[in-house]
Amino acid sequence: MTTMATECLLQLCEERHEIEDYQGGVPRWCTGCGDNAILAAVQRLCRDEGLHPEKTVFVSGIGCSSRFPHYMRTYGFHGIHGRALPVAEGIRLARPDLKVFVNTGDGDCCSIGAAHWIHAIRYNMNMTVFLHDNQIYGLTKMQASPTSPRGTKSNTTPRGSYLEALQPLSVTLGVQNVSFVAQAVDWIPEMLYDIVKAAYHHRGFSFIRIVQRCPEWLPKVWDPWLHDPSRIQVLTHEDGVPVSESLAKVYRNRLEHDPANLNRAREIAADTDNIPVGILYRNPEVPCYEDLRASTRLRTTDYVKAGLETEFDKFTIWPQA
């Protein structure tokens, strides 16, 4: 029908984009911050997938990492602390035509936003979520976060933190309806890009924990992994991300892992010695909440107004006449 004709016409006008088309303001991150690498990988994805800037939205909470939307020349929503996911879910429901990305920090996601995180996994709405995990509250100048390794000295834990770090991968893999979990490190850009791409192509809640360096507050924490490639465990599988020849030469610690195997994924996630990099879990069969609740009803202004009025009326206190 029309769709066919339209598809042809759309193909007719496929446009080449350059990376500059996705670059917004100049990043104000510290020099050497791992967020820069994430930004570069994401802008590359946008260009390579030919995303339309006006059909793309980045949603974030509060934190250094949450400044991400400012640096993208797309739509963006720099939200409130811990609430990136609910905002993204609302966008997803109201504007199914948009590509939705979420940037959230370890404080934003795993501390104040933890409840939203759990439920967002269960809702499994189609979006790509980047957890920028620098193991610290960066923006507010170094307070321990739930993912800070035990013993982290910070402004809130001057004698070192007392608790074992929360493992974002293990948490995510433990929630009902989990459908995509991967891990990347900011300093292997090639794999970072491939993982971001795989996450983007998964339909559902695609969660990537990105090990992100904060040279400003925790300059040395990742050095043992940064300088010893054998502690990076590259996950390989035909359904995983490819490993180039040049990378394979450097990263020899490789583990064959089928992303369909949830129990194995949980075991791998529990290993804190190595940093596993690649796709831990992928299940394309999990239904998306927006599909379960899809309605063909046209959202006309009158319809939306009527719905809002009904809701508002529940709370309105009428001014005295």
Partner: protein, 718 residues
């Protein structure tokens, strides 16, 4: 006595009946024995009546009442309850069948009620429960219709309307979506424009409750400098408005709230259908174009530089079969009698040019007097000819069937109605005025069994060869010349006899008053062993005097068996009929004919064809694995370089000297100009690069200060 008598042979050869030896066939009193069991159809659970299901959507548009009842019974819980429900349901079903056969015309729920009232006039709780369960279980509404002269038109009209409704729904949803989207573009523009930010508009936007708190005049003044006349270019606005005009004024679909009366798509003749189609074509093109433009606009994908040219040329040439398929197809219902020359021409033209038209050609009299004095039976020749002409066109979906068989052909009927392109339905109703006393259903079914009007379908989209496109599957015992029927009776010694008799063309023709002279009833005392089933002697072409004569078994009004012989003229017709059947079998690949052979051969041939082709190509020059990344093997270390693919875009080096270091298209650093800075900068960058991928090489300027110290610091990065 195993030889036919002289009078019998004479009748066979000449058709002259010696009255004292042979009786005339009484076509009203005598019935072919195979039909005897079915005279009271109300007692038989068969495909009729049929429910024309309303709002069937993509599901079956019609179903046999008996099938719907079975559906309810299958899902009934508990064995005891099931038996009771079954008994009640079947009684209601039979009552409905009787009501409908007697001319009742009503919808299913109403018929269930009137049938229930007749079966159990007094209140009965168990029965009422069953009725309730039946109504709920069927959950269908729709007219219940019997097999009669009106059926083909009603049924096909109904299926056509179901398909049109689905298309209409799809169009409505899409048109509303697009109009809403276009409207939103115009409203968004208005809201940002100077007019949209005038004081009155701002006041209206706030509502009454707090309006007094604002000075809207001042607000409008403040907003004026940042408000444009319009954010839309005049061309875009004109385009959107013209598309909206076309969508609102279109007459192909009924839209809620639309003031225009939609076009009619059902026609009584091909000529008017054809001229209506031609007259509407420009409007169809305009609407198709408007839909395509609107879809692009709503997506924000309309690019004038590219699309203007495409749509300037988008006239009738843009209207291919796919584009036409979004509109309702034309439906023409004709009686075979109406196929005169001009009508025939219009029909031929529509089918040949692949117009989106569905044509029903109904035949009521299959055995009308021979045409053009050929001496042959017509056997519905106009409808049949048309069907074979349509087969020859290859692109027409053809369905031929007796009305009794339409339920069995449901999938084909529906597929043909949905087919993108023309479809022809050739249907024999069975409602012939020359066949008295038999239910229409039975006549239609008899015509099919006798292969006088075989059912077939041709689905042009069903595969690459005839055998997969052409199907005879709904015919009874299709591998046989004629189907066998079981006949059970008591002989003169009161012994039970079971016989299998074929139901041939001669059996069918024996029901038609006009052909009685080709039959002669043989009095019981004159029966002899030379009287054999027609099928067993049809292949014999008479040379000299025949020793065996074809005979039929018939049953009279008192349910006694009678034997009837047939003259040679009719046998020849039966032979012709059999040959036509054979050629259909061959088309369907059911007779080991050409199609079947071709199919059998094609299988092993194809795989064999592949290897030589592969061998012929030279040892493949394997393309190198996509070299996305730069080589990592170290270039001569005298030159400074960066392992760019490993760069994590951290800005360190760029900040040290942006003329020396710069990002590439992937936002990863490389050395663009080593001479744009000092060796010191190179070394500092190498030291600051956290992933240690900057290699400073050897200094170019031997006069640079502190070289010795710098060289030492550079050592780990060489």
């Amino acid at each position: 006595m195993n030889m036919p008598s002289e009078a019998q042979v004479t009748f066979f050869l000449t058709g002259r009946r010696a009255a004292q030896e042979l009786e005339a066939l009484d076509t009203v009193r005598l019935r072919p024995a195979a039909l005897a069991a079915y005279l009271d159809l109300t007692r038989l659970r068969h495909d009729f009546p049929v429910v024309l299901i309303e709002d069937a959507g993509e599901g079956a548009a019609f179903a046999a009442l008996s099938a719907l009842v079975d559906g309810v019974l299958e899902s009934a819980p508990g064995a005891g309850e099931q038996t009771r429900l079954r008994a009640h349901a079947l009684r209601i079903e039979r009552e409905i069948r009787t009501l409908v056969a007697n001319g009742a015309s009503d919808r299913l729920p109403a018929l269930i009620d009137s049938a229930a009232a007749r079966v159990a006039p007094l209140p009965d709780r168990a029965f009422a429960e069953s009725v309730q369960r039946l109504r709920e279980g069927m959950a269908r509404d729709g007219l219940v219709v019997d097999c009669n002269a009106a059926l083909p038109r009603r049924l096909l009209g109904h299926v056509w309307r179901s398909v049109a409704r689905v298309k209409g729904e799809a169009f409505r949803a899409e048109a509303e979506r697009l109009m809403h989207g276009l409207d939103a573009i115009l409203r968004a523009d208005h809201a940002q424009s100077r007019r949209g930010r005038a004081a009155t508009e701002l006041r209206a936007a706030i509502g009454t409750a707090h309006a007094e708190a604002f000075d809207f005049e001042r607000m409008a003044q403040l907003l004026a400098p940042v408000s444009a006349e319009s954010t839309l270019s005049p061309a875009r606005r004109a385009r959107i408005e013209s598309v909206l005009t076309v969508l609102r004024g279109q007459r192909f679909f009924a839209l809620p709230g639309s003031a225009v009366e939609p076009y009619a798509f059902e026609f009584e003749d091909c000529a008017s259908a054809l001229s209506a189609f031609r007259a509407r074509l420009p409007e169809m093109a305009a609407l198709a174009r408007a839909l395509a433009v609107a879809a692009l606009e709503v997506e924000g994908e309309y690019r004038e530089a590219r699309h203007d040219a495409v749509f300037a040329d988008f006239d009738l040439t843009g209207m291919d079969a796919e584009a036409l398929a979004q509109f309702p197809d034309l439906l023409v219902c004709l009686n075979e009698k109406a196929l005169h020359t001009p009508e025939n021409q219009a029909l031929g033209e529509m089918l040949e040019s692949g117009l989106p038209v569905k044509v029903l050609v109904q035949t009521d009299d299959l055995l009308e007097a021979p045409l053009a004095g050929s001496g042959h039976l017509a056997m519905g020749s106009r409808g049949r000819q048309l069907a074979s002409m349509a087969l020859g066109l290859n692109e027409v979906y053809v369905v031929q069937s007796a009305s009794s068989n339409l339920v069995a052909m449901r999938e084909h009927v529906e597929r043909a109605m949905r087919y993108v392109g023309p479809a022809l339905f050739s249907v024999y109703s069975g409602a012939s005025e020359h066949i008295g006393g038999l239910p229409v259903y039975l006549v239609a079914a008899a015509a099919m069994d006798a292969r006088a009007f075989p059912a077939f379908s041709y689905d042009p989209a069903a595969g690459g060869d005839w055998a997969s496109r052409f199907s005879l599957e709904t015919n009874t015992q299709l591998e046989r010349d004629w189907p066998l029927h079981r006949l059970e009776y008591e002989d003169s010694e009161q012994q039970r006899v079971v016989e299998e008799i074929g139901f041939t063309l001669a059996d069918f023709v024996a029901c038609d008053t006009r052909y009685a002279r080709h039959y002669a009833q043989v009095p019981r005392e004159k029966w002899n062993g030379g009287m054999v089933a027609l099928e067993s002697c049809i292949a014999e072409t008479a040379r000299g005097l025949p020793e065996r004569l074809p005979s039929l078994v018939m049953v009279d009004a008192e349910n006694r068996l009678q034997r009837v012989i047939v003259d040679d003229k009719l046998v020849r017709e039966a032979r012709r009929c059999r040959e036509m059947w054979h050629s259909l079998q061959e088309l369907a690949g059911a007779r080991g004919g050409q199609a079947a052979r071709a199919k059998a051969q094609s299988a092993p041939v194809e795989p064999q064809a592949a290897p030589p082709a592969a061998e012929a190509s030279p040892p493949a020059q394997m393309p190198a694995p996509a070299a996305a990344e730069a080589p990592t093997s170290a270039p001569p270390s005298d030159e400074p370089y960066i392992e760019t693919p490993r760069c994590s875009s951290c800005n360190e080096c760029i900040q040290i000297n942006p003329r020396m270091f710069a990002y590439d298209a992937n936002q990863q650093a490389r050395i663009v100009d080593a001479s744009a800075g000092t060796y010191r900068e190179l070394v500092e960058a190498a030291e600051n690069c956290q992933v240690a991928i900057i290699h400073p090489g050897k200094p170019k300027n031997p006069k640079e200060p502190d070289l010795e110290e710098l060289l030492k610091r550079a050592e780990p990065f060489l």
